[in-house]
Subunit: 225 residues, 2 copies
Protein backbone atom coordinates (compact mmCIF):
# COMPACT_ATOMS: atom_id res chain seq x y z
CA UNK A 1 0.00 0.00 0.00
CA UNK A 2 2.87 2.35 0.75
CA UNK A 3 4.02 1.95 -2.83
CA UNK A 4 0.56 2.92 -4.08
CA UNK A 5 0.56 6.05 -1.97
CA UNK A 6 3.95 7.15 -3.24
CA UNK A 7 2.86 6.37 -6.75
CA UNK A 8 -0.27 8.50 -6.54
CA UNK A 9 1.64 11.27 -4.79
CA UNK A 10 4.25 11.25 -7.52
CA UNK A 11 1.59 11.50 -10.18
CA UNK A 12 -0.11 14.36 -8.32
CA UNK A 13 3.22 16.17 -7.93
CA UNK A 14 4.10 15.56 -11.60
CA UNK A 15 0.75 17.00 -12.66
CA UNK A 16 1.30 19.98 -10.35
CA UNK A 17 4.75 20.61 -11.84
CA UNK A 18 3.26 20.51 -15.33
CA UNK A 19 0.63 23.13 -14.43
CA UNK A 20 3.31 25.18 -12.65
CA UNK A 21 5.35 25.24 -15.86
CA UNK A 22 2.32 26.65 -17.65
CA UNK A 23 1.89 29.32 -14.96
CA UNK A 24 5.58 30.20 -15.16
CA UNK A 25 5.44 30.55 -18.95
CA UNK A 26 2.42 32.87 -18.76
CA UNK A 27 4.07 35.00 -16.09
CA UNK A 28 7.34 35.18 -18.01
CA UNK A 29 5.53 36.16 -21.19
CA UNK A 30 3.78 38.91 -19.23
CA UNK A 31 7.12 39.90 -17.62
CA UNK A 32 5.41 39.72 -14.23
CA UNK A 33 7.66 37.92 -11.72
CA UNK A 34 5.86 36.06 -8.94
CA UNK A 35 7.05 35.51 -5.37
CA UNK A 36 5.65 32.71 -3.24
CA UNK A 37 5.80 33.61 0.49
CA UNK A 38 6.16 30.66 2.86
CA UNK A 39 6.34 30.64 6.65
CA UNK A 40 4.92 29.35 9.90
CA UNK A 41 1.53 30.74 10.83
CA UNK A 42 2.02 34.14 12.40
CA UNK A 43 5.53 34.84 11.11
CA UNK A 44 4.27 38.08 9.59
CA UNK A 45 3.61 37.37 5.90
CA UNK A 46 0.46 39.48 5.73
CA UNK A 47 1.92 42.50 7.53
CA UNK A 48 5.00 42.41 5.29
CA UNK A 49 2.76 42.33 2.22
CA UNK A 50 0.57 45.16 3.55
CA UNK A 51 3.64 47.36 4.01
CA UNK A 52 5.01 46.28 0.64
CA UNK A 53 1.76 47.25 -1.09
CA UNK A 54 1.67 50.60 0.73
CA UNK A 55 5.20 51.38 -0.40
CA UNK A 56 5.07 50.15 -4.00
CA UNK A 57 1.45 50.62 -5.09
CA UNK A 58 2.10 54.00 -6.64
CA UNK A 59 5.02 52.68 -8.72
CA UNK A 60 4.07 49.11 -9.57
CA UNK A 61 0.90 47.28 -10.54
CA UNK A 62 0.84 44.45 -8.02
CA UNK A 63 -1.49 41.46 -8.07
CA UNK A 64 -2.02 39.43 -4.89
CA UNK A 65 -3.20 35.87 -4.24
CA UNK A 66 -3.56 34.70 -0.63
CA UNK A 67 -4.16 31.17 0.61
CA UNK A 68 -5.66 30.19 3.94
CA UNK A 69 -7.09 27.01 5.40
CA UNK A 70 -10.15 28.94 6.41
CA UNK A 71 -11.39 32.58 6.34
CA UNK A 72 -10.54 35.38 3.94
CA UNK A 73 -9.02 37.47 6.73
CA UNK A 74 -5.69 37.96 5.01
CA UNK A 75 -7.30 38.86 1.70
CA UNK A 76 -9.55 41.38 3.48
CA UNK A 77 -6.54 42.91 5.22
CA UNK A 78 -4.56 43.17 1.99
CA UNK A 79 -7.51 44.54 0.01
CA UNK A 80 -7.34 47.67 2.19
CA UNK A 81 -3.87 48.38 0.81
CA UNK A 82 -4.58 48.16 -2.92
CA UNK A 83 -7.37 49.10 -5.28
CA UNK A 84 -6.73 45.98 -7.32
CA UNK A 85 -8.47 42.66 -6.82
CA UNK A 86 -6.98 40.53 -4.04
CA UNK A 87 -7.74 36.89 -4.69
CA UNK A 88 -8.43 34.61 -1.74
CA UNK A 89 -7.96 30.86 -2.03
CA UNK A 90 -9.59 29.00 0.86
CA UNK A 91 -8.08 25.52 1.02
CA UNK A 92 -10.63 24.12 3.49
CA UNK A 93 -7.99 22.57 5.67
CA UNK A 94 -5.58 21.92 2.79
CA UNK A 95 -2.04 22.56 3.94
CA UNK A 96 -0.58 24.35 0.90
CA UNK A 97 -1.43 26.15 -2.32
CA UNK A 98 -1.02 24.22 -5.56
CA UNK A 99 -0.31 25.32 -9.10
CA UNK A 100 -3.86 24.71 -10.28
CA UNK A 101 -5.19 27.22 -7.74
CA UNK A 102 -2.73 29.82 -9.07
CA UNK A 103 -3.59 28.94 -12.65
CA UNK A 104 -7.28 29.52 -11.86
CA UNK A 105 -6.48 32.77 -10.05
CA UNK A 106 -4.56 34.04 -13.09
CA UNK A 107 -7.87 33.90 -14.98
CA UNK A 108 -9.03 36.94 -13.00
CA UNK A 109 -5.77 38.88 -13.22
CA UNK A 110 -5.01 41.22 -16.13
CA UNK A 111 -1.46 40.00 -16.60
CA UNK A 112 -0.70 42.58 -19.29
CA UNK A 113 -1.34 45.24 -16.66
CA UNK A 114 0.59 43.52 -13.88
CA UNK A 115 4.22 44.12 -12.91
CA UNK A 116 4.49 41.82 -9.93
CA UNK A 117 2.53 38.93 -8.41
CA UNK A 118 2.72 38.30 -4.66
CA UNK A 119 1.45 34.90 -3.49
CA UNK A 120 0.89 34.42 0.23
CA UNK A 121 0.88 30.70 0.88
CA UNK A 122 -0.92 28.88 3.72
CA UNK A 123 0.92 29.35 7.02
CA UNK A 124 2.96 26.15 7.11
CA UNK A 125 6.73 25.73 7.07
CA UNK A 126 6.58 22.12 5.84
CA UNK A 127 4.23 21.26 2.98
CA UNK A 128 4.32 24.40 0.76
CA UNK A 129 8.06 23.89 0.26
CA UNK A 130 7.38 20.91 -2.03
CA UNK A 131 4.85 22.59 -4.33
CA UNK A 132 5.93 24.60 -7.33
CA UNK A 133 3.40 27.35 -8.07
CA UNK A 134 5.19 28.69 -11.13
CA UNK A 135 6.79 31.43 -9.06
CA UNK A 136 10.09 33.07 -9.89
CA UNK A 137 11.25 32.47 -6.32
CA UNK A 138 10.03 31.17 -3.04
CA UNK A 139 10.57 33.56 -0.13
CA UNK A 140 10.80 31.97 3.31
CA UNK A 141 9.99 34.15 6.33
CA UNK A 142 10.90 33.35 9.89
CA UNK A 143 10.44 35.55 12.88
CA UNK A 144 12.93 36.20 15.67
CA UNK A 145 10.36 34.78 18.10
CA UNK A 146 10.60 31.32 16.52
CA UNK A 147 14.04 30.18 17.65
CA UNK A 148 17.40 29.98 15.91
CA UNK A 149 17.25 26.36 14.78
CA UNK A 150 14.21 26.59 12.51
CA UNK A 151 16.31 26.37 9.31
CA UNK A 152 17.85 23.11 10.53
CA UNK A 153 14.53 21.63 11.59
CA UNK A 154 12.62 22.66 8.45
CA UNK A 155 15.41 22.51 5.86
CA UNK A 156 13.16 21.87 2.85
CA UNK A 157 11.58 25.33 3.06
CA UNK A 158 14.98 26.99 3.38
CA UNK A 159 16.41 24.94 0.52
CA UNK A 160 13.48 25.65 -1.78
CA UNK A 161 13.69 29.41 -1.22
CA UNK A 162 16.03 31.88 -2.89
CA UNK A 163 15.26 34.60 -0.34
CA UNK A 164 14.94 34.48 3.45
CA UNK A 165 13.34 37.30 5.40
CA UNK A 166 13.89 37.49 9.15
CA UNK A 167 10.83 39.29 10.56
CA UNK A 168 9.79 41.07 13.78
CA UNK A 169 13.26 42.51 14.25
CA UNK A 170 11.81 45.10 16.67
CA UNK A 171 11.24 42.31 19.22
CA UNK A 172 14.93 41.33 19.38
CA UNK A 173 15.66 43.33 22.56
CA UNK A 174 12.97 41.35 24.40
CA UNK A 175 14.16 37.90 23.35
CA UNK A 176 17.06 35.55 23.85
CA UNK A 177 17.54 35.09 20.11
CA UNK A 178 20.98 34.73 18.56
CA UNK A 179 20.58 36.31 15.13
CA UNK A 180 24.05 35.35 13.92
CA UNK A 181 23.41 31.73 14.84
CA UNK A 182 20.03 31.75 13.05
CA UNK A 183 21.57 33.18 9.87
CA UNK A 184 24.41 30.68 10.12
CA UNK A 185 21.95 27.80 10.31
CA UNK A 186 20.07 29.12 7.28
CA UNK A 187 23.31 29.49 5.31
CA UNK A 188 24.38 25.99 6.28
CA UNK A 189 21.15 24.63 4.78
CA UNK A 190 21.24 26.85 1.68
CA UNK A 191 24.44 28.85 1.02
CA UNK A 192 22.77 30.69 -1.89
CA UNK A 193 20.07 32.31 0.28
CA UNK A 194 19.76 36.07 0.11
CA UNK A 195 18.73 37.62 3.42
CA UNK A 196 16.61 40.57 4.44
CA UNK A 197 16.17 41.55 8.08
CA UNK A 198 13.02 43.55 8.66
CA UNK A 199 10.51 44.87 11.10
CA UNK A 200 7.38 45.57 9.10
CA UNK A 201 6.02 47.30 12.20
CA UNK A 202 8.80 49.88 12.55
CA UNK A 203 9.89 49.89 8.91
CA UNK A 204 13.44 48.84 9.79
CA UNK A 205 15.05 47.00 6.88
CA UNK A 206 12.10 47.60 4.55
CA UNK A 207 13.95 49.87 2.07
CA UNK A 208 16.39 47.12 1.09
CA UNK A 209 13.52 44.65 0.58
CA UNK A 210 11.55 47.13 -1.52
CA UNK A 211 14.64 47.93 -3.60
CA UNK A 212 15.10 44.25 -4.23
CA UNK A 213 11.52 43.87 -5.50
CA UNK A 214 11.88 46.96 -7.71
CA UNK A 215 15.06 45.46 -9.12
CA UNK A 216 13.37 42.14 -9.86
CA UNK A 217 10.58 43.90 -11.74
CA UNK A 218 13.07 45.97 -13.70
CA UNK A 219 15.11 42.88 -14.57
CA UNK A 220 12.00 41.04 -15.78
CA UNK A 221 11.09 44.00 -18.02
CA UNK A 222 14.56 44.21 -19.50
CA UNK A 223 14.99 40.48 -20.02
CA UNK A 224 15.79 40.14 -23.75
CA UNK A 225 14.59 36.54 -24.01
CA UNK B 1 -7.47 10.65 -10.49
CA UNK B 2 -8.73 12.89 -7.70
CA UNK B 3 -10.99 10.06 -6.63
CA UNK B 4 -8.04 7.70 -6.45
CA UNK B 5 -6.12 10.11 -4.25
CA UNK B 6 -8.98 10.54 -1.84
CA UNK B 7 -9.47 6.81 -1.81
CA UNK B 8 -5.86 6.06 -0.91
CA UNK B 9 -5.83 8.87 1.65
CA UNK B 10 -8.95 7.48 3.27
CA UNK B 11 -7.40 4.04 3.47
CA UNK B 12 -4.21 5.48 4.96
CA UNK B 13 -6.22 7.47 7.51
CA UNK B 14 -8.38 4.44 8.36
CA UNK B 15 -5.25 2.36 8.92
CA UNK B 16 -3.79 5.13 11.10
CA UNK B 17 -6.97 5.29 13.19
CA UNK B 18 -6.84 1.54 13.69
CA UNK B 19 -3.24 1.69 14.95
CA UNK B 20 -4.15 4.71 17.10
CA UNK B 21 -6.89 2.67 18.76
CA UNK B 22 -4.28 0.05 19.62
CA UNK B 23 -1.98 2.72 21.08
CA UNK B 24 -4.86 4.18 23.10
CA UNK B 25 -5.78 0.78 24.51
CA UNK B 26 -2.20 0.09 25.58
CA UNK B 27 -1.91 3.50 27.24
CA UNK B 28 -5.24 3.13 29.01
CA UNK B 29 -4.29 -0.31 30.26
CA UNK B 30 -1.06 1.17 31.62
CA UNK B 31 -3.03 4.14 33.05
CA UNK B 32 -0.55 6.48 31.34
CA UNK B 33 -2.43 9.35 29.68
CA UNK B 34 -0.77 10.83 26.60
CA UNK B 35 -0.88 14.43 25.41
CA UNK B 36 -0.13 15.35 21.80
CA UNK B 37 1.26 18.89 21.52
CA UNK B 38 0.51 20.71 18.26
CA UNK B 39 1.54 24.19 17.17
CA UNK B 40 3.25 26.32 14.57
CA UNK B 41 7.02 26.01 14.47
CA UNK B 42 8.46 28.16 17.22
CA UNK B 43 5.33 28.53 19.35
CA UNK B 44 7.24 27.17 22.31
CA UNK B 45 6.38 23.47 22.59
CA UNK B 46 9.88 22.39 23.54
CA UNK B 47 10.43 25.07 26.19
CA UNK B 48 7.03 24.30 27.74
CA UNK B 49 7.96 20.61 27.90
CA UNK B 50 11.40 21.38 29.34
CA UNK B 51 9.81 23.38 32.16
CA UNK B 52 7.13 20.74 32.63
CA UNK B 53 9.77 18.02 33.00
CA UNK B 54 11.78 20.15 35.44
CA UNK B 55 8.71 20.68 37.61
CA UNK B 56 7.19 17.20 37.54
CA UNK B 57 10.14 14.84 37.16
CA UNK B 58 10.46 14.25 40.89
CA UNK B 59 6.78 13.35 41.24
CA UNK B 60 5.86 11.63 37.98
CA UNK B 61 7.53 9.17 35.63
CA UNK B 62 7.24 10.97 32.30
CA UNK B 63 8.01 9.50 28.88
CA UNK B 64 8.64 11.82 25.93
CA UNK B 65 8.42 11.35 22.16
CA UNK B 66 9.39 14.28 19.90
CA UNK B 67 8.85 14.59 16.16
CA UNK B 68 10.79 16.82 13.80
CA UNK B 69 11.19 17.03 10.05
CA UNK B 70 14.93 16.99 10.51
CA UNK B 71 17.43 17.02 13.41
CA UNK B 72 17.09 15.65 16.94
CA UNK B 73 17.51 19.12 18.46
CA UNK B 74 14.30 18.99 20.47
CA UNK B 75 15.00 15.51 21.77
CA UNK B 76 18.52 16.59 22.78
CA UNK B 77 17.12 19.63 24.60
CA UNK B 78 14.50 17.57 26.42
CA UNK B 79 16.95 14.82 27.33
CA UNK B 80 18.77 17.35 29.52
CA UNK B 81 15.65 17.61 31.68
CA UNK B 82 15.00 13.95 32.39
CA UNK B 83 17.02 10.85 33.09
CA UNK B 84 14.57 8.76 31.09
CA UNK B 85 14.88 7.99 27.39
CA UNK B 86 13.60 10.75 25.10
CA UNK B 87 12.58 9.28 21.78
CA UNK B 88 13.17 11.28 18.62
CA UNK B 89 11.17 10.61 15.48
CA UNK B 90 12.71 12.26 12.42
CA UNK B 91 10.05 12.46 9.72
CA UNK B 92 12.46 13.41 6.89
CA UNK B 93 10.25 16.21 5.67
CA UNK B 94 7.01 14.50 6.71
CA UNK B 95 4.59 17.07 8.07
CA UNK B 96 3.11 15.22 11.05
CA UNK B 97 3.57 12.26 13.37
CA UNK B 98 1.41 9.20 12.74
CA UNK B 99 0.14 6.47 15.03
CA UNK B 100 2.57 3.88 13.71
CA UNK B 101 5.52 6.02 14.80
CA UNK B 102 4.05 6.25 18.30
CA UNK B 103 3.30 2.52 18.32
CA UNK B 104 6.94 1.84 17.45
CA UNK B 105 8.15 4.31 20.09
CA UNK B 106 6.07 2.54 22.75
CA UNK B 107 8.25 -0.51 22.15
CA UNK B 108 11.10 1.29 23.93
CA UNK B 109 9.02 2.72 26.78
CA UNK B 110 8.41 0.78 30.00
CA UNK B 111 4.72 1.61 30.14
CA UNK B 112 4.27 -0.11 33.51
CA UNK B 113 6.71 2.42 34.92
CA UNK B 114 5.22 5.44 33.15
CA UNK B 115 2.67 7.89 34.54
CA UNK B 116 2.43 10.30 31.66
CA UNK B 117 3.42 10.43 27.98
CA UNK B 118 4.20 13.76 26.33
CA UNK B 119 4.27 13.77 22.52
CA UNK B 120 5.73 16.81 20.80
CA UNK B 121 4.43 16.80 17.23
CA UNK B 122 6.13 18.33 14.18
CA UNK B 123 5.76 22.12 14.18
CA UNK B 124 2.76 22.51 11.91
CA UNK B 125 -0.66 23.93 12.73
CA UNK B 126 -2.38 22.19 9.80
CA UNK B 127 -1.61 18.52 9.15
CA UNK B 128 -1.11 17.07 12.68
CA UNK B 129 -4.69 18.05 13.54
CA UNK B 130 -6.02 15.23 11.34
CA UNK B 131 -3.89 12.42 12.74
CA UNK B 132 -4.95 10.48 15.81
CA UNK B 133 -1.89 9.22 17.71
CA UNK B 134 -3.87 7.41 20.39
CA UNK B 135 -3.47 10.35 22.75
CA UNK B 136 -5.89 11.20 25.51
CA UNK B 137 -6.01 14.80 24.27
CA UNK B 138 -4.46 17.04 21.73
CA UNK B 139 -3.03 20.26 23.17
CA UNK B 140 -2.80 23.19 20.77
CA UNK B 141 -0.28 25.94 21.57
CA UNK B 142 -0.26 29.38 20.07
CA UNK B 143 1.96 32.24 21.00
CA UNK B 144 0.96 35.85 21.52
CA UNK B 145 3.37 36.78 18.70
CA UNK B 146 1.26 34.88 16.13
CA UNK B 147 -1.81 37.12 15.84
CA UNK B 148 -5.32 36.89 17.24
CA UNK B 149 -7.01 35.22 14.28
CA UNK B 150 -5.00 31.99 14.21
CA UNK B 151 -7.92 29.92 15.65
CA UNK B 152 -10.17 31.13 12.83
CA UNK B 153 -7.59 30.50 10.12
CA UNK B 154 -6.52 27.07 11.40
CA UNK B 155 -9.79 25.83 12.94
CA UNK B 156 -9.07 22.11 12.56
CA UNK B 157 -6.25 22.23 15.10
CA UNK B 158 -8.38 24.16 17.58
CA UNK B 159 -11.35 21.81 17.04
CA UNK B 160 -9.26 18.68 17.44
CA UNK B 161 -7.76 19.89 20.73
CA UNK B 162 -9.27 19.74 24.20
CA UNK B 163 -6.71 22.15 25.65
CA UNK B 164 -5.30 25.41 24.29
CA UNK B 165 -2.16 26.96 25.74
CA UNK B 166 -1.38 30.58 24.96
CA UNK B 167 2.41 30.91 25.18
CA UNK B 168 5.05 33.66 25.48
CA UNK B 169 2.79 35.73 27.73
CA UNK B 170 5.85 37.73 28.88
CA UNK B 171 6.02 39.34 25.42
CA UNK B 172 2.50 40.82 25.66
CA UNK B 173 3.69 44.30 26.72
CA UNK B 174 5.78 44.56 23.54
CA UNK B 175 3.02 43.54 21.13
CA UNK B 176 -0.27 44.79 19.77
CA UNK B 177 -2.04 41.54 20.63
CA UNK B 178 -5.62 41.49 21.85
CA UNK B 179 -5.72 38.49 24.18
CA UNK B 180 -9.49 38.65 24.78
CA UNK B 181 -10.10 38.65 21.05
CA UNK B 182 -7.76 35.67 20.53
CA UNK B 183 -9.50 33.66 23.27
CA UNK B 184 -12.88 34.63 21.83
CA UNK B 185 -11.87 33.34 18.40
CA UNK B 186 -10.66 30.07 19.90
CA UNK B 187 -13.92 29.66 21.87
CA UNK B 188 -15.95 30.41 18.75
CA UNK B 189 -14.20 27.53 16.97
CA UNK B 190 -14.35 25.14 19.93
CA UNK B 191 -16.49 26.16 22.94
CA UNK B 192 -15.23 23.17 24.94
CA UNK B 193 -11.58 24.27 24.90
CA UNK B 194 -9.84 24.60 28.23
CA UNK B 195 -7.28 27.41 28.32
CA UNK B 196 -3.96 27.93 30.00
CA UNK B 197 -2.04 31.19 29.64
CA UNK B 198 1.66 30.76 30.28
CA UNK B 199 5.12 32.15 29.94
CA UNK B 200 7.47 29.18 30.19
CA UNK B 201 10.32 31.70 30.38
CA UNK B 202 9.09 33.56 33.49
CA UNK B 203 7.00 30.73 34.91
CA UNK B 204 3.80 32.80 34.83
CA UNK B 205 0.76 30.54 34.55
CA UNK B 206 2.80 27.34 34.88
CA UNK B 207 1.36 26.22 38.25
CA UNK B 208 -2.17 25.89 36.83
CA UNK B 209 -0.87 23.89 33.86
CA UNK B 210 1.17 21.58 36.11
CA UNK B 211 -1.81 21.09 38.44
CA UNK B 212 -3.89 20.13 35.45
CA UNK B 213 -1.37 17.46 34.37
CA UNK B 214 -1.12 16.11 37.94
CA UNK B 215 -4.92 15.90 38.00
CA UNK B 216 -5.03 14.02 34.71
CA UNK B 217 -2.52 11.47 35.98
CA UNK B 218 -4.43 11.04 39.25
CA UNK B 219 -7.71 10.60 37.35
CA UNK B 220 -6.17 7.94 35.09
CA UNK B 221 -4.88 6.05 38.13
CA UNK B 222 -8.24 6.16 39.88
CA UNK B 223 -10.29 5.28 36.81
CA UNK B 224 -12.29 2.19 37.89
CA UNK B 225 -12.79 0.88 34.33
Amino acid sequence: MTVTVIDVRERVMARNDEIARGVRERLERARAPAFNFISSPGAGKTLLLERTLDALNAQLRIAVVTGDCQTQNDADRLARHTDRLVQAVVTNGGCHLDARQIYTALGSIALDATDLLLIENVGNLVCPASWDLGERSKVVLFSVTEGEDKPLKYPNAFRAARIAIVTKLDLLPHLEFDLASALGHARAVNPALRFFLVSARTGEGMPAWLDFLRGEVAAARDDPT
